[in-house]
Amino acid sequence: MQKLGMGQAVNQALKEEMQRDPNVFIAGEGVGVSIHVNPMFPTHGLLEEFGPGRVKDTPVSEAAIAGLAVGAAEAGLKPVVEIMFNPFFTLASDMIVNHAAKLRYLSGGKSSFPLVVRIKSGAGFGAGCQHSHNLEAWTAHCPGLKVVMPATAADAKGLLKSAIRDDNPVIFIEHMGLYFAPMPVPEQEYLTPLGQADIKRQGRDLTVVTWSGMLGVAMGAAEKLSQEGIEMEIVDLRTLTPLDRETILTSVEKTGRLIVLHEATRTGGFGGEIAAVVMEEGFRYLKAPLRRVTGPDIPVPASPPLEKFYIPDQNDLIKAAREIM
């Protein structure tokens, strides 16, 4: 099986979908000619293959980029636009929150907006808080959007292909920390359905629900705890909305314990939503109070020791696990 970084897997998905459907086009800042000439990056080589008619480099204009997607999608095209870094979502947010998410509803179901907004995300680059800020909970809070956050290259490819074929607006958030670590990706064509979590590790003692860049932390911690005889079950959410409640609840029923792990800050984070779902629908399964392991409620700092302090790590997860075992 081929081994690809997540950026390369995204690249394959874009390439396959653009070959399949002439209505798919990509647009954004540096999606064609980029300041990064790196084959590990998601849009590398697409301009050369598909030309400037379908690979649209835009001015630094996030509202226009998102508006481009909304208007073009209404006409039946399949735009895949890129917001360079998650914090810049704020500049595009009116088009996404008030328009992509709501215009179908306002039309009484007459219109649809089959667009994808790819957003590069994640801490760990020393870039500071205006380039690193995980805002997935904001988008998950908007009915009308679907929010996808893959944790593996293979899932990224299959999920992005499904997102492009979905007739709803999809926010597709890629953790840049996953761009550079090669992971196995099937070579044949496949689609990974939106709205289905995936159990990445079976275990009997404790459920960890996580997504995106934190999957690796969870898997590493699980191996260590296994040596102590504690078996964690790792649920990779993959899609935040629509949320796969069933997989979460089935796992918690089996293990009786829950930790939600995410890189985003704690207050108002999506971990609270998972916790609420389990309290409302699975309280009777719990043998111990559930826990959240998250970034602290601070902007992501630039200095390496401070940023390391911010990002939840294996020790944080192991500590929380021991507390509730």
């Binding site: 086009f25 008619g53 649209k56 835009t58 001015p59 204009s61 509202a63 226009a64 998102a66 508006g67 481009l68 997607a69 909304v70 208007g71 073009a72 999608a73 209404e74 006409a75 039946g76 095209l77 735009p79 009116d94 088009m95 008030n98 328009h99 215009l103 179908r104 509803y105 306002l106 039309s107 009484g108 179901g109 007459k110 219109s111 649809s112 089959p114 009915p143 009308g144 679907k146 979905d166 007739d167 709803n168």
Partner: protein, 320 residues
């Protein structure tokens, strides 16, 4: 200017229909419990919608804003569907989901009415991009007010549309007021059309109460767009004869200013001209007025008699 007789009659007709539509809403929205939400009317601005839409073909698209009724009627939207939606009824063109402010009529290529000031512009850019991408022989018209030109989205959209030479006509309906702010209180730029120069596109100033002039300018802008010469910023100077909404007491608008503009009303202006030039006679004008009146009355009757949606229909139409 040699405008076909039929076009001139069409403009007069859609203006009369729009005015009757607005006038009925002036009364209806004051009846307690009749119409939910705000009421924003386009009284006095009809020549902009009618003039621009008369220059368009069916395949052309309009993206419009909170003051949309005259645009939508001029584009051919069914008055019954609009009125029922304004009443928030199940039979409304958007099943009661949009109400008066976000009326959406994709079947006449009016796929988006947005109340977020300035938001029509980036969406119109996207819609025009699709026309360019598919090499469709059609254009997109983007309606917005003078207040919207102060939003960042205005500048992003004009820049991108010019850069890519998109087939879009930006129609700034300058009605002299943005909320309670008079034009000079929100910008130092004397004419909004002047801003076109910053993006290297034609900026045209039109008398927005002169329907044939609006038509002519839109026709030329449309042709430029179809010829691959990109966007035009068209500033139509008109006047907001009523408040921002019907609840607005207009205490900041001088009475004599309102009166002076009422005298420049675009409807008698065109009808007098058409009678003088023999394109219609006064009997035909009366006929148009009574026909518009009965269409509006029928739309109101339809809206009033229609049921509200079932509460659980609120859950439908979020996702495909």
């Amino acid at each position: 200017m040699n405008i076909p007789r039929k076009k001139q009659q069409e403009m007069l007709w859609t203006m009369i229909l729009s005015r009757k539509f607005s006038d009925s809403l002036v009364e209806l929205c004051r009846i307690e419990g009749k119409i939910p939400g705000m009421m924003i009317l386009s009284t006095g601005q009809e020549a902009v919608g009618s003039g621009v839409c008369a220059a368009l073909k069916q395949d052309d698209v309009i993206i419009t804003n909170h003051r949309s009724h005259h645009h939508l009627l001029a584009k051919g939207a069914d008055p019954k569907g609009l009125m029922a939606e304004i009443f928030c009824k199940k039979t409304g063109c958007n099943k009661g989901k949009s109400g008066t402010l976000h009326l959406t009529v994709p079947e006449v290529n009016a796929p988006c009415t947005t109340t977020v000031v300035g938001a029509t512009l980036p969406i119109a850019v996207g819609r025009a991009f699709a026309q360019q991408y598919t090499q469709e022989q059609a254009v997109t018209v983007c309606f917005f007010g003078d207040g919207a030109a102060d939003e960042g989205s205005f500048h992003e959209a004009l820049n991108l549309a010019a850069l890519w030479q998109l087939p879009v006509i930006f129609v700034c309906e300058n009605n002299l007021y943005a909320g309670a702010q008079r034009y000079e209180e929100h910008t130092r730029v004397k004419d909004m059309a002047e801003r076109a120069r910053a993006y290297d596109m034609p900026g045209i100033i039109v008398d927005g109460n002169d329907a044939p002039a609006v038509y002519q300018a839109a026709l030329e802008a449309r042709q430029r767009a179809l010829d691959g010469q990109g966007p035009t910023l068209m500033e139509c100077k008109t006047y907001r004869c009523r408040g921002h909404g019907e609840q607005d007491p207009q205490h900041y608008q001088p009475r004599d200013e309102i009166r002076a503009w009422q005298e420049k009303c675009p409807i008698p202006r065109l009808s007098n001209m058409l009678i003088a030039s023999g394109i219609i006679n006064s009997a035909e004008l009366q006929e148009m007025e009574s026909m518009a009146e009965s269409i509006v009355q029928e739309a109101v009757r339809f809206a009033e008699e229609s049921p509200y949606p079932e509460p659980r229909e609120a859950l439908e139409d979020v996702y495909v």
